[in-house]
């Protein structure tokens, strides 16, 4: 392949810098392919030279885009695109490791946004300075990530932020090694590297990417707000559940308080009924016994009645007395005794003239 030197004179550089701004430096970097508008100049002393008149940024951007796609493809084939995003976010994000340039536009905005959050949440921020554009971007960010990794227990999240930049500047973030390091980083990494449309490789492998540093700050505040709301909701729901438990148990207790006396009264009534039943049976038995004895007595009385002397006399019998004693055998009298005989209607005396044995 033929080689030929090209010169960009200071005057031309200043003109092109004005025209293309920061993008010029990004494109004019080692290993980039460029398409140039040149004047071919021949100098007697210096020979044939190409004098750069303009640069076609879109050509290099196309190269960048191609490189970016290849990196993404490789990271995707290694399943690295979702790894950092699958890390669990801490319940509260408060300890923030910031990777940014001290002079980066957006860093001050980010800090102010965090510090003046309307909910008064506390954050601890620590800046790990790194170049946010140019050739030093990748090595410096990677160095700072290594330092943060060693101190990972001190932080909840890493944010990589810078102010707005051109689409070409963004290509600095399309780097395989840096992408891989972020993908496998033990802490969630958030980016806010100031672009509107395309995502850089760094954005794609990060847990979350935002368009601006302020958007990252908003998210950090919102995340904590959501956490707080969840805590408040849990508290309120727990309270409601506790109140329901108490209500249910009170209802249960009131059922006991209501029904136990009723059951006790039933038991009492059953016992009382049993007692009444026994008393009634005893009374009945007594009545039967008395009735029986009464009948026996009546029978006896009837017999006694039948045996009365006047009743015997009524039937035509008589009773003979000697000295007031009824004579029951002939041996009680002797001839000549005067005896008194009672009949129904009267009494007569007689003298014994003969005794037949």
């Amino acid at each position: 392949m033929a080689r030929m030197g090209a010169v960009l004179w200071a005057g031309e550089h200043a003109r092109l810098r004005k025209k293309h701004k920061d993008s010029l430096e990004t494109v004019l970097m080692e290993s980039n392919q460029v398409r140039l508008l040149v004047n071919v100049d021949f100098h007697e002393r210096f020979g044939l030279k190409l004098m750069i008149k303009d640069i076609d940024l879109s050509y290099t951007i196309g190269q960048f885009a191609e490189r970016r796609l290849q990196i993404i493809k490789k990271l995707e084939s290694e399943d690295l695109l979702e790894v950092n995003g699958s890390l669990d976010l801490p319940v509260a994000l408060q300890r923030i490791a910031i990777i940014s340039s001290e002079t980066a536009a957006g860093l001050a905005d980010f800090r102010a946004h965090i510090e003046e959050n309307e909910y008064g949440y506390d954050y601890r921020m620590h800046l790990f300075p790194a170049a946010m554009q140019g050739a030093q971007l990748v090595p410096e960010i990677m160095t700072q990530l290594s330092i943060i990794k060693k101190r990972k227990s001190e932080f909840d999240v890493v944010v990589i932020i810078r102010g707005g930049g051109s689409k070409i500047d963004l290509s600095d973030f399309d780097h395989y090694e840096l992408g891989k390091m972020i993908a496998t980083f033990p802490l969630p990494v958030f980016t806010g590297i100031g672009h509107e449309i395309d995502e850089s490789v760094v954005d794609m492998v990060s847990a979350k990417s935002f368009k601006t540093p302020t958007a990252v700050a908003d998210y950090l505040v919102r995340h904590n707000l959501e956490t707080e709301q969840q805590i408040l909701m849990l508290e309120s729901e727990s309270l409601q559940l506790a109140q329901k438990i108490v209500r249910d148990r009170r209802q249960e207790l009131e059922n006991y308080q209501r029904f136990l006396p009723i059951l006790a009264a039933t038991t009492l009534e059953r016992a009382s009924n049993a007692l009444q039943q026994i008393l009634f049976s005893v009374k009945m038995l007594f009545a039967q016994a008395i009735n029986h004895k009464e009948r026996e007595l009546a029978h006896l009385m009837a017999l006694i009645q039948t045996a009365k002397p006047e009743n015997i006399l009524k039937k035509g019998y008589s009773i003979t007395y000697k000295n007031g004693h009824p004579i029951k055998t002939s041996g009680e009298i002797k001839v000549g005794d005067v005896v008194e005989t009672h009949v129904q209607t009267g009494i007569f005396e007689s003298q014994v003239s003969k005794i037949k044995k």
Binding site: E235, L239, A242, Q243, V246, R249, R250, E252, L253, Y256, Q257, F259, L260, P261, L263, A264, T266, T267, L268, R270, A271
Partner: protein, 61 residues
């Protein structure tokens, strides 16, 4: 044997046990008075517990 400390749950269980016995007619008259005195103790204890918890919850609300 050390007497087990009364808890809300143990008291409620005992109330249920007394309820079951009464319902089955398994309580004689001699026991009834004793049981109903126990019911009063258990019921007062549980009511007090619930009131205490409600006071705490009302404070939270």
């Amino acid at each position: 044997m050390a007497k087990k400390k009364m808890t809300f749950e143990s008291a409620m269980e005992e109330l249920q046990a007394i309820y079951d016995e009464l319902e089955q007619g398994a309580v004689g008259l001699d026991e009834l008075e004793k049981k109903m005195k126990r019911v009063k103790v258990l019921s007062d204890y549980c009511s007090r517990k619930l009131r205490d918890i409600e006071t705490v919850l009302d404070g939270e609300a």
